[in-house]
C-alpha cells in the first residue's frame, strides 16, 4: 500500500480517492456516484456545479502553482511548521525555470540579494555537480533536470505534499476569505480547503477568481510583454561556436568562458551585437523573417554538453499572454519560428552544423500577463528612486526590461530597490498572498521585478508570512512583515 499524503484524511477516504476500489468494479462513470460511496464513509464531500465532489485534503496552506515562486513558498511555509499542499499542473516543479526552458536565471545586479532559499538552491545545485557561478556574472547557470529533482527533494524533506497534474479551476470565496479551491485532477473535480492560500499561478488566476482587482498589459498600448517559445538544441560544437563568435567576430557580449557561454543579438536594444548582421543576412535571403531575426540568444547548459538553451523565438506582441485563443495561436506561430531559426543556425552558424532541436518548452515563456492591485502598488519611480521599505521581502536591480516598450538604464553600481510585503496582499481577500510575476506592480516596474531569483525570494517570504500568520492567528493581509522577528525573516530591509 502506498504512503498517504501526510495531511491527514481518513484512511478509508484516501483509499476511495486513490481509486483502490473493489477489483475492476464498474464505476458509474460520473464522479458523482464515485463520491457517493466515499460520502457514506466520511461525509467529506462538497457540492460544486450540481455535483458532489470529494474534499481531497485540508491543509494549513495551499499553494497554487509550482513555479519558482510557488515552490519557494511551499517549502518555506512547511519548514515553518504548517501543513502545505502544492498544486502543480505539470509533472515537474520549477515552472519557467524547468518547464519553460528559461535558464540561466537572470542576475539581480544587486549586491547581497540572495535570500537564504535562493542561496540554498545554488548550494544544492553544487552538491549535484552543477556549479551555477560562471566566475564573472551573478547569473545562475542551472540544469533543468537537476533543478526539478532538487525541488522534489526539498518538498519531500520539508513535508510538502505535491499534487501534480492538478489544475486550479475555481475558488469558494465569501466574506473576503477563500475557504477552498476547486481543482481538476485526473480523477475529476475535487476541493482543497486551507487556512491561507498562496497564488503563485503567474497569471494571478486565484486572485482574479476570488475578486482581487487586477490589471494586464501596458496601459499605453494594451499589449502584454511578448511571449517566448523556448527550446533546446543538442549536437552543438560549442568550442567551434565560441571560436567563431568570441574570437573571429570578436563579440565581447559574453563575459564568461566555456562551459559558461552565451551568444545573443537583440535588434530593439541600443547595444549593437555582432550577430545582428548574421541574422539580418537570413532576412535578406528569405530564410528567416524579420520577427525571427529580432531576438536570438543561446546559453550553454551546465551538465548537458553540446546542448544550448535557446532564448527565442520571441513571439510578436500581437499575440497576447492574457487571451487563451491568442495564446494558442502563439504556440503554433512560435513553433514555426523556432524551426526556422533552428534551420538557419544549422545551415549557417559555425558549430551548429550537426545541431538539432532536442527539446521544446512545455509552457510558453510569459513575461507578464495579469498583475494584482494590492495594498502597495509598485511603480517605475520605485526603481529609479531605489525605494526602501520597512516591510521589504527582497532587493533587486535588474533593469526595466519591457521588450519592445522600454529598456531602462541600469542603476548605479551597488544600487537596488526593495519589494514590500504589501505588494503581495490585497484589501479584498484576507487569507491570500500573491507571489511571483503577478504581484502588485505597474507594467513598467514589473518588467524589472519579474526575474526568477526575485520571484523565488518573494515566494520564500510569502511562505514564511503564511506560516507566521497561522501561528499567530493574524490574517495574511494584516501581517506586518517588519514585526516578524528578524531571524525568522528571509530578508530585512536595509532601510
Amino acid at each position: 500500500m502506498f504512503e498517504s499524503l501526510s495531511i491527514p484524511i481518513s484512511r478509508r477516504d484516501l483509499l476511495k480517492l486513490a481509486g483502490v476500489t473493489a477489483a475492476g468494479a464498474v464505476l458509474s462513470g460520473s464522479s458523482e456516484s464515485h463520491v457517493d460511496a466515499a460520502e457514506k464513509i466520511s461525509g467529506k464531500t462538497v457540492s460544486y456545479a450540481g455535483k458532489k465532489i470529494p474534499v481531497l485534503c485540508a491543509a494549513d496552506v495551499c499553494v497554487c502553482g509550482g513555479g519558482p515562486a510557488g515552490a519557494a513558498a511551499a517549502v518555506n511555509a512547511a519548514r515553518n511548521g504548517v501543513k502545505v499542499v502544492l498544486i502543480e499542473r505539470g509533472v515537474a516543479l520549477g515552472g519557467l525555470g524547468v518547464l519553460g526552458c528559461v535558464y540561466p536565471f537572470m542576475d539581480t545586479h544587486a549586491p547581497n540579494s540572495d535570500t537564504p532559499y535562493v542561496a540554498e538552491l545554488k548550494q544544492r545545485l553544487r552538491a549535484h555537480g552543477i556549479e551555477p557561478f560562471d566566475g564573472v556574472t551573478q547569473q545562475t547557470w542551472h540544469n533543468p533536470e537537476t533543478l526539478a529533482l532538487i525541488h522534489d527533494e526539498m518538498c519531500e524533506e520539508a513535508g510538502v505534499d505535491v499534487l501534480y497534474q492538478t489544475v486550479v479551476v475555481d475558488s469558494f470565496t465569501s466574506g473576503g476569505k477563500i475557504s477552498a479551491v476547486i481543482v481538476q485532477t485526473i480523477a475529476g473535480l475535487a476541493a482543497i480547503t486551507a487556512k491561507t492560500f498562496i497564488d503563485a499561478t503567474g497569471d494571478a488566476y486565484l486572485a482574479r477568481n476570488a475578486g482581487v482587482d487586477f490589471e494586464r498589459g501596458y496601459e499605453k498600448t494594451g499589449n502584454n510583454q511578448p511571449l517566448s517559445f523556448r527550446f533546446e538544441m543538442g549536437g552543438i560544437d560549442t568550442q567551434k561556436l565560441y571560436d567563431y563568435v568570441a574570437i573571429e567576430l570578436q563579440e565581447d557580449w559574453c563575459k564568461s568562458k566555456l562551459p559558461y557561454f552565451e551568444i545573443a543579438e537583440a535588434m530593439h536594444r541600443k547595444q549593437r551585437y555582432k550577430l545582428e548582421e548574421f541574422m539580418a543576412r537570413g532576412v535578406e535571403t528569405g530564410e528567416i523573417t524579420q520577427d525571427e531575426a529580432e531576438y536570438m540568444q543561446a546559453y550553454t547548459i551546465i551538465g548537458k554538453n553540446g546542448v544550448m538553451s535557446m532564448n527565442c523565438p520571441e513571439i510578436p506582441v500581437t499575440y497576447k499572454a492574457t487571451d487563451p485563443i491568442s495564446y494558442s495561436k502563439a504556440v503554433v506561430h512560435g513553433r514555426k519560428m523556432m524551426r526556422n531559426i533552428a534551420r538557419y543556425l544549422v545551415n549557417h552558424l559555425p558549430g551548429f552544423e550537426n545541431a538539432f532541436i532536442s527539446r521544446e518548452a512545455v509552457m510558453l515563456g510569459a513575461r507578464e500577463s495579469w498583475r494584482i492591485r494590492g495594498k502597495y502598488y509598485m511603480v517605475e519611480d520605485d526603481y529609479h528612486n531605489q525605494s526602501r521599505f520597512p516591510d521589504a521581502v527582497c532587493r533587486t536591480a535588474w533593469f526595466i526590461d519591457a521588450h519592445g516598450e522600454k529598456v531602462s538604464e541600469k542603476l548605479p553600481k551597488g544600487g537596488y530597490y526593495e519589494i514590500p510585503y504589501r505588494a503581495l496582499i490585497s484589501d479584498k481577500v484576507s487569507n491570500l498572498i500573491v507571489a511571483g510575476r503577478c504581484i502588485s506592480a505597474s507594467f513598467i516596474l514589473q518588467a524589472s521585478m519579474r526575474i526568477q531569483p526575485t520571484c523565488a525570494s518573494i515566494g520564500e517570504a510569502a511562505g514564511i508570512a503564511a506560516a507566521y500568520g497561522i501561528k499567530h492567528a493574524i490574517n495574511a493581509n494584516q501581517i506586518d512583515w517588519a514585526t516578524i522577528p528578524a531571524k525568522e525573516r528571509s530578508y530585512v530591509s536595509a532601510g
Partner: protein, 497 residues
Amino acid sequence: MLEKFLIPISRRDLLKLAGLTAAGAVLSSKDSAQAAPVAPNQSFALNADKIPVLMNADVCVVGGGVAGTAAAVTAARNGAKVVLVEQGIVLGGSQTQALVYPAMPTKTFNSDTPYITDLNRRFYMHGIDVDFDSDPKYKNGGDARQYTPELLAAIYDEMCADYKVDILYNTTLVGSETSGGKITAAIVHSIEGLGKIVAKTFIDATGDATLSRFAGVECIRGSDVTGRNQKMSFRFEMGGVEEMKVYKFFVKKLKDDWCETKPPEFEFAKTTHTEKFYFEGIQRGEVTKDDVAYIQAFTIIGKPGTLSMNCPEMSPFVYSATSVVDRSKAIQQGRIMIRRLANFFRKNIPGFKNAFISREASMLGVRESWRIRGKYIMTKDDYFNAQKFPDAVCRSAYPIDIHDETLELNRTLGKGEFYEVPFRALVTNELANLLVVGRCISTDFPAQAAVRIQPTCMSMGEAAGIAAAYALKNAINVNAVDWTLIPAKERSYVSAG
C-alpha cells in the same frame, strides 16, 4: 488586433468574454449568502449560465494526443468545423509529451489507414522515412514507426493548419453540460478563466475517458482479476551517447541478440542475455530491483547521440494510474529512479561515459486508466479469435501486452492473423453525440492491452473523425451511425471479414 479563430464566435459571446475579465470575477460562485467556512455537503454554486461561450463548433475534440489529433484532422478534412482542446502546448500526447517512442508495430500488413499514410508522407517530406511496409526486412508488416517527437509536434500543427482545425492549447476540460441524452457543452479552464465550448458532436480523446465520466458514461478501470491498472512509465531521453560503443557493448561483449539492426538504428533492452548485468547493479547498490524491472532504450532518428529510454516502469502495486495522489507520487519516485538509472548507465556502459539526461517526459506514460462501456465491449476472445467486424475501423495483430507477468496471456496470433476493432466500441448507448477514441474505448482489460498502441489509436481517431462529419452531414446521431453504410470510399477502413 489579432485574427480570431476561424470559427465565428457570436458578438454576444465575445462581449460576454470581454465582460468576464473586465469585471474581475471569473465566476459568480461567490454569493455572499453562502457563508464560509466549508462544511461537509456545503454547496458551491457554480452558475453555468454565467460561463461565457469560448467557441462554437461542429465537432469538439477533447485531448490532442495520438487519437484526438487524428480525429480532429480527419473531421475537418471531411468538412466539419473542428476545435481541438489540448491541455499542453503540443499535440501528440504520449508521443510528444510522454516520449513514447517509437510507435509500436501492428505486426500485420495493410493496417495503415489513409491518415497514417499521410502522416508518413509528411515525415518523408521532412527527410525521415518511416514507411517500412514495403521494406522486405520487415516481413511481418506494420513495424514500429520512428516519429521524432519534436518533428512530429511541428507536423501535427501543420496538419491542423492545412485542414483548418482550431487548436485550443493550454486548456483543460473541467466539466460538461448534458441535456436530453446529448452533451451540449464542454466546460474548459484556460489561463483566462472558465469557458464553454458548444458543439454538435464531441469526441473524447482524453485517454482517461474524462469527458465520458463527466457526462455520466459507465466506466471500468483496471484488471478484473487484480483490480490494478497497467503500469505507468516515466520516460526520458539521454544525450551525449556514443551509440556505436553501446552497440558493441551489448552485442559483442554481452552477446545480446535482441536488436537486429546497427546504429544509427539500434535498441537495447533487459533480456535473458543481459539480466545479469542489471542484477549486478542491484548487488552493488547502484540501482534497485524496481529501477531495472523493465529496461529498454532506442536511438532516435534526427537526434544523433540521443536515446529514448523506455523506463523506469512504476510498480502497479504501489502506483495506480487512476489516483491523482499515486500519479503525483509516481512522478516524484520516477524522477529519482531516472537519476539512478542514468548514473548506472554512465558508470557501466561504454558509450554512456559523457551521457546526460537531456529531457524528461512532460506527462507520465499511462498504458491504461479508465475505459468506457460502450455499445460493444471488445474482449480477449476477440483477440484470440482474430475477430472481424462488419463495422471495423482498423486492424492489428499487436499482442495482449499487459506488463504484468501474472496476467500475461502468452498466446499470440498465428502468422498472417489479425483482429479488427468495431465502430461500436467507440460509441455509447447513453450519449447520442459522443465518440470515444484512443486507449479508453470500450474493451475488457486484456483486449485494451492489445488495442492501446499508437497506430491503432490513430486509426480509431481517424474513423471517429469521418463518422462525426458523416453524421453531421446526414443529420444522424453519431451513436446511431452504421459504419457499414458509409460509402466504402469515404471510410478509412473496410472490414476484411
